[in-house]
């Protein structure tokens, strides 16, 4: 029983990382209507940035905060410079641009930092707490806390601020928003900035366990896709719930179902996804797409 509870907590910790990146995907999907395939590489780039800052003597939390600021500016810049010129083109064109972006960022990372694996510090102590004979890793709790706090702050931003409201309006109806004097282009860029911030959090939280290497976010991005689709691709709450439950389910399956182990984690995640989508095609929280003929 104690072991089971422990597995749930560590599942939630990895799930929170998937959830953050899934939420980034959903943010962009809602405003730009495409899956940003470069989301993982953008996260990797910012995580390397954090590594460099610490490598040059900055301590963890200041480096963390500065990295988020850099991620935000970078996300805004990517939208303005790379996405904006193709903004009105068919979605497939934009998707291909994001794949190009993925390759470019990946190559840039290798060029700047090299391909060898680097260790990344964790801000949390490497010990455990015992709560009623359940051993909980502080690392897991810290990761979960940081991710959920980020999600919560973002929720507050969208819920309570004027700019957050305008961003939601733009995602629903950009033409109507423009008539109400909203600068639609900047709202989209802001969305990319916030998505990049979420990715940076996910990257920095994942790095201590998966280590820094140019393809560190690849698998996490696939889990994040799965989580986003599971939650219903256009639903922020769905992405978070999808990410957390995916983390827990995968962790339990690989611990208690022998043949899953570590090798079959990814196929298992996709199997879970497939089953859910057969039962609920719109995902857990998504809106049914009604096709009128």
């Amino acid at each position: 029983m104690a072991e089971f509870a422990q597995q749930i907590v560590s599942g939630l910790a990895s799930g929170a990382i998937y959830a953050s990146l899934a939420l980034a995907l959903v943010l962009i999907y809602r405003s730009t209507d495409v899956i940003n395939f470069a989301q993982g590489e953008m996260a990797t780039f910012t995580t390397y940035t954090a590594w460099s800052l610490m490598h040059h003597g900055m301590s963890y939390w200041p480096a963390f905060a500065l990295t988020l600021a850099i991620a935000f500016a970078g996300g805004v810049a990517v939208e303005r410079v790379v996405i904006r010129p193709v903004e009105r083109r068919p979605e497939l064109v934009i998707v291909i641009v994001t794949i190009g972006l993925l390759l470019t960022i990946n190559a840039t990372i290798g060029w700047i930092w090299g391909a060898d694996v680097k260790a990344f510090d964790s801000p949390f102590p490497n010990n455990t707490w015992d709560v009623h004979s359940v051993t909980i890793s502080v690392q897991d709790v810290g990761t979960l806390g940081v991710c959920l706090l980020t999600v919560f702050l973002l929720w507050g931003f969208f819920r309570f601020t004027t700019v957050g409201l305008a961003m939601r309006a733009v995602a629903i109806n950009p033409n109507a928003s423009r008539l109400l004097a909203v600068r639609v282009g900047w709202m989209l860029a802001l969305g990319w900035g916030l998505a990049a911030v979420l990715g940076a959090v996910a990257g920095m939280m994942a790095a201590p366990t998966v280590f820094l290497d140019p393809s560190m976010m690849l698998v996490i991005l696939i889990y994040a896709f799965a989580a986003a689709v599971l939650g219903g691709i256009d639903s922020p709450a769905g992405a978070v719930v999808g990410g957390l439950s995916l983390g827990v389910v995968i962790n339990l399956l690989s611990r208690y179902v022998n043949f899953v182990g570590t090798e079959l984690r990814l196929p298992t995640a996709l199997a879970v996804l497939l089953v859910v989508l057969i039962i609920r095609p719109q995902g857990l929280f998504g809106h049914k797409v009604v096709r009128r003929v």
Binding site: L165, I172, N173, A176, L179, L180, A181, V182
Partner: protein, 236 residues
């Protein structure tokens, strides 16, 4: 000097020319109707004013040329355009939709200052504040769209077929409010309609568009008696 002035306005969607030569004026405090058959260019005329279609020719508002201005900056001059299809945000609440109307003048202070006045015209909105706009009936949605435009305290209100798909009593109610806004607050209104009868009854002057050109213009009372207008648009 008129509040709004269009002269020789042309507009196109890619290669398709939708307006050939539109010239019209609207004085401060006036209600003007814009009539015409399907595809005549009524919606495009409003878009040419709010800057949401490619246009040439002269459009000026309050003495300023709208020439190369963006839709955002035109909205800031005090033109509220309720577009065809209403342009609501169905997944946002009624209150959030109203807040978006206040965005152009600084959301927080404007919504606080203007909401009581606007809710005076639509008291039922008060109880529906937290409801999703998409769950309102068609008539309620049209009124919400009107209320949202009013929150910005516009100098010119442009309505695109507010009667579309609504029951006659609701249409009458909407036009009653528009007339009241005009007589009490001196609001200037440019209203596009296919329902020529109520539009002519509610306006001082009217223009009839045919394939992107002004075909007939004059005082609304006279157009109601105009042979061609009566036959084509009033049906008797």
């Amino acid at each position: 000097m008129p509040l709004l002035e269009l002269s020789g306005v042309e507009a196109r969607y890619g290669p398709i020319k939708a307006l050939h030569d539109v010239t019209l004026t609207l004085d401060d405090g006036e209600v003007v109707a814009l009539l015409g058959a399907n595809g005549a260019g009524k919606t495009t005329t409003l878009r040419a004013i709010s800057g949401t279609v490619r246009r040439s020719g002269n459009v000026s508002f309050g003495g300023r040329s709208l020439g190369r201005r963006s839709p955002e900056s035109i909205a800031k001059l005090g033109i509220a355009h309720v577009p065809e299809g209403r342009g609501l945000f169905p997944e946002l609440t009624v209150w959030e939709n109203l807040r978006m109307g206040a965005y152009v003048r600084g959301e927080r202070k404007t919504i606080r200052a203007e909401a009581p006045r606007v809710l005076g015209y639509f008291p039922w909105l008060e109880e529906r504040k937290t409801q999703q706009a998409g769950t309102l009936s068609g008539g309620e949605q049209q009124m919400l769209a009107l209320a949202r435009a009013l929150v910005s305290r516009p100098r010119l209100l442009m309505l695109d077929e507010p009667s579309l798909g609504l029951a006659p009593t609701i249409v009458a109610e909407i036009f009653r409010i528009v007339r009241e806004l005009n007589t009490e607050d001196g609001l200037s209104v440019l209203v596009v309609e296919q329902n020529a009868k109520i539009a002519l009854e509610s306006s001082a002057r009217a223009y009839v568009l045919e394939v992107g050109r002004v075909a007939v213009e004059g005082a609304s009372a006279e157009l109601e008696r105009h042979e061609g207008v009566r036959k084509s648009y009033l049906g008797y």
